[in-house]
Symmetry: C2
Subunit: 147 residues, 2 copies
């Protein structure tokens, strides 16, 4: 069971890169190099993020992409949804008939309950949170060195 596809992973990392770099336009080639993401693949991911209005772009030389909102306003769950659709751990596979056979649905109900918890957990996380995590991790590293 895979929660995050590479699409999502790359997208999040690209967004983090943009967030750290501030408000200027950054070319895809630079993000690709910094975050070690295949260039052409990243380009497609960025195009989707542009379409979904997470980032804006500028064409031409010294163009690139830039985050549209503050990192604290970009929710992780929204990025996931763009690339992987709604979080729906179990879909009713038997919509056609009336769900006469109950064993089909009890499992679904149980999974649905877990799904809601996952959603709730995810909804608390913004890109800013991830950036804070990075800073925290890098501070720990420094402290360990100075000891």
């Amino acid at each position: 069971m895979k929660f995050l596809t590479k699409n999502t992973d790359y997208a999040v990392r690209a967004i983090i890169e943009l967030a750290i770099r501030g408000g200027s336009f950054i070319p895809a080639s630079e993000i690709s190099a910094k975050q070690d993401i295949p260039y052409q693949y990243l380009r497609r991911i960025l195009q989707l993020l542009i379409k979904e209005r997470v980032v804006t772009s500028r064409e031409g030389a010294s163009g690139g992409v830039k985050l549209k909102a503050n990192p604290s306003e970009v929710d992780l769950v929204d990025i996931i949804k763009i690339f992987q659709g709604d979080i729906q751990l179990s879909e009713c596979m038997f919509r056609k008939k009336v769900c006469s056979n109950r064993s089909k649905c009890v499992l679904r109900k149980r999974i649905k309950a877990i799904e809601e918890k996952v959603n709730h957990e995810l909804e608390g996380i913004t890109i800013q949170n991830l950036i804070d995590d990075i800073k925290e991790a890098s501070n720990e590293k420094k402290n360990n060195k100075n000891r």
Copy 2:
């Protein structure tokens, strides 16, 4: 994001069917009919369940399969693992290099935390729980009729 594949869904339903029918050997054809699962597909699923020692089988006429343990001893999470592998919402996609780029790992950590919660939720559920759910649902139905 799909939490349960059809494999798993079919397997769970087959096991529920076996559990309800008690300790005798039930042929795959019967489970297939009762639970509306494609016969050949079900056969392969059962063979895996046999290999994993969740059910036992008897060959020949009036043979079939039967649950090995009590329904209360069969954990949903084990069935999921048989068909979908370990629950690992986010795998480290970058094992080769040292994880120099921190933005890769903070996301993973966050997802890992959610993953653990999901695991914890799942671990509480046995086949017996699902059967109880079914009974409960069917009681509710009766009460509604008598009103």
